[in-house]
C-alpha cells in the first residue's frame, strides 16, 4: 500500500519512497510522459515520473544561445552521454553526436518548433493502399485516424493548439474546431501565402502548439523570437511542463522526480515488470517499485533501456522477441531553402511558423518516380549567433567588412521554406547499444545505424525544388537550399518500438502494451509505424491520451495485477 507524504514548498506534490509500490512508474516527462502522468494521476492512480534531467522552470530559461544550444541547458549532453554512428551494421561505429532530445522536466516539448499538424487518414493505412516497397518494412498501423481523432481534439483543447479549422482543403475530418484562433501572420507567412496561391497551391494558417490567447493561467505568445530550441518564459508554448505537469502535480497523486536516470527495468521470475532501477543525482542506485511500468523516454532511450534490461529470461533485451526493439527508425525527410528579400521581413520576431501547405501530402509515385509526401512551411528559426554561422548564402565571405555587411543586410531579410516529409522504415536503421563506448555512468552508449531509403532522398530533392519555385514566385532576390545529404543526425525519433497486431513484427500492441510483458507499456515516438509528414509531437501526444485511456481501463479491470 502506498502512502504519500507531502513536501513543504510543493504542497500538492506527494513524495513517495522507492520502496512504495506505486500504481505506475513512468520513465520520461516529455510529450507522452507528461500526458500519461496527468491522465493517470487525475484518475486516482499513484504515479512516480522519473526524469533524467533537471526540473527547470520559466525563470531558469534563457535567451543565451551558448547556455541553451552549446551547453545543452535543456537537452542531452554529448560529453556525459556520447553517441556513435555507422551507416550499416557491417561498419564499425565512430563517436559523433547523432541526436538532440529534451533532457529536463517537459522533455523535448520544452524546445520544439510547435508545428502541430494532425496526421491524415492516409498515414495509418498507406501500406494497404500502395502495397509493399522494396527495402522497407512499410506497414499499416493497428489503429486508424478515426481511433485517434478524439485524442487529437483533446490535445488541441487541453494542451493548447492555435489554428483555423477548415482552412486547408486537405485536412482530415475533425470533431471540434480549434480552441483559439491562429497566431498572427508573419512576413514570411504573407510572402508564402501569396506565392503559393500564384502557383495554384493551398496555403493556410499553421496549427501551432502556442497560445494565441491567454488560457488556463498561461500567457499568450509575446513574440519574443527565441522559440525553436528555447524554453518559453511565459508558458505560451504548450509544453508538457506548461500544460500537463502542473495538473499531474495538482492531483496530489503524482511525484515528478528529476535527475533520476533509469537504466534497467526489473522483472520478476514470472516475467512481470516490478519497477525501474535508476541513478539519483549522486549516482546512488534506487529501485522504484511499481505495479506497472510505462516507458516514454523517447524513440532512442526507450529501446536503449529495453536492450539494457536484457536478462536470462530476456536475453535479447526486454520485450524483444521480435528483434524489432530499436529498429525501423525514421527521422523524417527534410529540405530547407532560404530566400533573401528586398525589404525587412523581420521574421526573427515571434514564433517560427505562421503559414503551411499540404498540397504535396500524398504524391503519386507513378508520376514522381518515388514513394513519399510532405508539407511545407515558411519559417525563421535561426537565432542571431546561429544565423551568423549558417544563415548566409553559399560562398559568402566568412569574416571582414563584406561579411559584416551581408550579415547586417540579410538577418532581417531572410526566411526559410522547410519541406518536411516521409521517411520509410528500414529494418537496419536503428538505435542500439554500442559494444565499446560508455556513458558517464558506465552504461553502453547509444549507437545509431542509419542510411536513408533512396526514396527519402529523392523526396527531399523534390521538396527542395518546390521550395525554390515558391521563393522565386515570392520575389526572393536570392535563394538556395542547404545541402541534402544522407542523414546522420536526428531529432524526430520514430518507429523504434512500433505498434502492431503481430508480435513477430512489432513490439507493442494497439494498447501500447508490450507483447511479452503485460504490465510494461511503451508510448513515445518509438510507437509509430510510419513517419507521418514530419510533425510527430502532435501525434505522440494524441497517442499518449489514448494510451492513458487504454491503460486505465486495463488497470480498472484488474488485468495488470499479478
Amino acid at each position: 500500500m502506498t502512502r504519500a507524504t507531502f513536501r513543504p514548498g510543493a504542497p500538492d506534490m506527494p513524495k513517495y519512497k522507492p520502496s512504495d509500490v506505486v500504481d505506475f512508474v513512468i520513465v520520461g516527462s516529455g510529450a507522452a510522459g507528461g500526458i500519461l502522468a496527468k491522465e493517470l494521476s487525475t484518475n486516482g492512480f499513484s504515479v512516480v515520473v522519473l526524469e533524467q534531467g533537471p526540473y527547470l522552470h520559466e525563470n531558469d530559461f534563457s535567451h543565451d544561445e551558448i547556455k541553451v544550444l552549446q551547453e545543452d541547458l535543456l537537452t542531452n549532453h554529448p560529453k556525459l552521454q556520447p553517441n556513435t554512428f555507422r551507416k550499416t551494421p557491417k561498419d564499425k561505429a565512430k563517436q559523433q553526436r547523432v541526436l538532440v532530445y529534451g533532457r529536463a522536466v517537459g522533455g523535448t516539448s520544452n524546445h520544439f518548433t510547435a508545428n502541430f499538424w494532425r496526421f491524415h487518414e492516409i498515414d495509418f493505412i498507406e501500406r494497404s493502399k500502395i502495397g509493399p516497397i522494396a527495402g522497407s518494412t512499410f506497414s499499416d498501423w493497428p489503429i486508424t485516424y478515426a481511433d485517434l481523432e478524439p485524442y487529437y481534439t483533446k490535445v488541441e483543447w487541453e494542451v493548447g493548439v492555435s489554428g483555423m479549422a477548415g482552412a486547408s482543403p486537405f485536412d482530415p475530418p475533425r470533431s471540434k474546431p480549434y480552441p483559439m484562433p491562429p497566431l498572427p501572420v508573419k512576413g514570411s507567412g504573407v510572402l508564402f501565402e501569396r506565392a503559393a496561391r500564384k502557383l495554384g497551391w493551398n496555403p493556410f494558417p499553421a496549427p501551432m502548439a502556442i497560445l494565441s490567447q491567454p488560457r488556463a493561467g498561461r500567457s499568450a505568445c509575446v513574440n519574443c523570437g527565441f522559440c525553436l530550441g528555447f524554453g518559453c518564459e511565459v508558458k505560451a508554448k504548450s509544453s508538457s511542463l506548461a500544460s500537463m505537469i502542473p495538473l499531474a502535480e495538482k492531483s496530489g497523486k503524482c511525484e515528478i522526480r528529476p535527475n533520476s536516470y533509469v537504466h534497467k527495468i526489473e522483472v520478476d521470475e514470472k516475467g512481470r515488470a516490478t519497477g525501474a532501477l535508476y541513478f539519483d543525482e549522486k549516482k546512488n542506485v534506487h529501485l522504484q517499485k511499481a505495479k506497472a511500468v510505462i516507458l516514454s523516454a523517447n524513440g532512442a532511450e526507450t529501446p536503449r533501456l529495453l536492450l539494457l534490461s536484457a536478462s536470462s529470461k530476456f536475453p535479447d533485451g526486454l520485450a524483444n522477441s521480435s528483434g524489432y526493439v530499436g529498429k525501423n527508425l525514421m527521422f523524417n525527410t527534410g529540405a530547407v531553402s532560404v530566400g533573401v528579400f528586398d525589404e525587412p521581413v523581420n521574421d526573427y520576431k515571434g514564433f517560427a511558423v505562421s503559414r503551411i501547405l499540404h498540397d504535396f501530402y500524398e504524391l503519386d509515385a507513378q508520376k514522381v518516380g518515388f514513394y513519399g509526401g510532405g508539407g511545407m512551411d515558411a519559417r525563421f528559426d535561426m537565432t542571431p549567433i546561429g544565423f551568423a554561422f549558417g544563415g548566409l548564402p553559399p560562398g559568402s565571405p566568412r569574416w571582414g567588412k563584406d561579411f559584416k555587411a551581408l550579415l547586417a543586410h540579410n538577418f532581417t531579410r531572410s526566411f526559410e521554406i522547410f519541406g518536411h516529409g516521409t521517411s520509410l522504415p528500414v529494418e537496419d536503421n536503428s538505435f542500439s547499444i554500442d559494444p565499446e563506448v560508455q556513458d558517464a555512468w558506465g552504461l553502453p552508449a547509444l549507437r545509431l545505424t542509419y542510411r536513408d531509403h533512396p526514396d527519402d532522398l529523392k523526396l527531399a530533392h523534390w521538396l527542395a525544388d518546390r521550395s525554390n519555385e515558391l521563393l522565386e514566385a515570392a520575389g526572393a532576390k536570392q535563394h538556395w537550399t542547404f545541402p541534402i545529404d544522407e542523414q546522420q543526425f536526428g531529432v524526430h525519433l520514430l518507429g523504434t518500438c512500433r505498434m502492431g497486431n503481430d508480435p513477430k513484427t512489432s513490439v507493442i500492441n494497439a494498447d501500447h502494451q508490450t507483447h511479452e510483458v503485460k504490465n510494461l507499456f511503451l508510448c513515445d515516438g518509438g510507437s509509430f509505424v510510419t513517419s507521418g509528414r514530419g510533425q510527430p509531437t502532435m501525434t505522440i501526444m494524441a497517442l499518449a491520451f489514448r494510451a492513458a485511456d487504454r491503460i486505465r481501463d486495463l488497470a480498472k479491470r484488474g488485468e495488470l495485477n499479478a
Binding site: N59, E65, A167, V185, V190, S219, V234, A388, K401, L407
Partner: protein, 228 residues
C-alpha cells in the same frame, strides 16, 4: 547602451503584449531574474583578465576587429568581444586555452614571415593584418553552409586558432546582451544586424505583413484580387 529605464520600458511593453493573467502574476519573478543577469552584464569593466595576459588581449582584440571591423557601425571592438573571449576561455571554451596560448605567437611569426619589418599584429597596417588572416584562414571559402543546430560552435583544441577566434568573435558580437557572457556590450551587435532588443513584439513585424487583410479562403482571395 540600454539603460535601466529603457529596459523597464521594453519589459513593460512585452508585458502589455502578453496581456495575460499568468504574466501579470509571474512577471516580477521573470523581471527579477532578467535584471540580475542584466546587472551582471552591465558591471563596469574590471580590467582584470581572467585568462588572457594584457598583451595577448591586445592581439586578440586586433584579430577580432578584422573579423568584424568597426567601419562606420560598431564592430567587435565596440561590442567588447575580447572580454567575451577572455571569459569564454575560463568557462565554456576552457578547452581552447592552449589554442590561444600557442596560436597567438604563430600569428606573430606568420606576420614576420610575410612582412619582415612588422612588429606586432596589433601594430600592423590593415592590409598586412588582412593578408595574415587570409593566410591563416585555411578552411576559407571551402566551407559550404550547414543548417545551424545544437552545439553549433566547433570550438575545440583540434581547431586552428583563426577558426576558433572567428567562432568566438561571431558569438561574442551577437550573444544575448543580457547574458553574463560579457559580450555584445550595449547590444551593439544586435543593432548592427537590425535585431531590436525587446522581449516581446506586436504585429506587424516587418514590411510585408503590414496591411495584411487577414486570411481568406482561396476562392474569396481570388475574388478580392479581381476586384482590386
Amino acid at each position: 547602451m540600454i539603460t535601466e529605464l529603457d529596459r523597464r520600458q521594453f519589459l513593460s511593453r512585452a508585458l502589455a503584449a502578453a496581456g495575460a493573467t499568468w504574466t501579470a502574476a509571474n512577471w516580477p519573478a521573470v523581471l527579477a531574474a532578467a535584471e540580475h543577469a542584466h546587472k551582471t552584464a552591465a558591471a563596469p569593466d574590471s580590467q582584470k583578465w581572467e585568462f588572457l595576459t594584457p598583451a595577448e588581449a591586445k592581439e586578440v582584440e586586433a584579430i577580432s576587429a578584422c573579423i568584424i571591423p568597426s567601419d562606420g557601425t560598431p564592430g567587435a571592438r565596440e561590442a567588447g568581444v575580447v572580454y567575451f573571449i577572455d571569459r569564454a576561455l575560463v568557462t565554456f571554451s576552457a578547452a581552447d586555452q592552449k589554442t590561444y596560448r600557442d596560436g597567438l605567437p604563430e600569428v606573430q611569426s606568420r606576420l614576420k614571415h610575410l612582412f619582415p619589418t612588422a612588429t606586432l599584429f596589433s601594430a600592423a597596417t590593415p592590409d598586412e593584418q588582412g593578408a595574415v588572416l587570409e593566410s591563416l584562414d585555411e578552411a576559407g571559402a571551402k566551407k559550404s553552409p550547414r543548417r545551424p543546430r545544437a552545439n553549433f560552435m566547433p570550438g575545440s583544441a583540434a581547431q586552428p586558432l583563426f577558426e576558433v577566434i572567428r567562432v568566438h568573435t561571431l558569438a561574442g558580437f551577437l550573444i544575448d546582451p543580457e547574458s553574463d557572457r560579457n559580450g555584445n556590450r550595449g547590444g551593439v551587435g544586435w543593432t548592427v544586424i537590425g535585431r531590436l532588443p525587446e522581449h516581446g513584439f506586436q504585429p506587424p513585424f516587418g514590411y510585408y505583413d503590414k496591411g495584411y487583410a487577414g486570411w481568406q479562403p482561396a476562392s474569396a482571395a481570388k475574388e478580392s484580387a479581381k476586384n482590386d
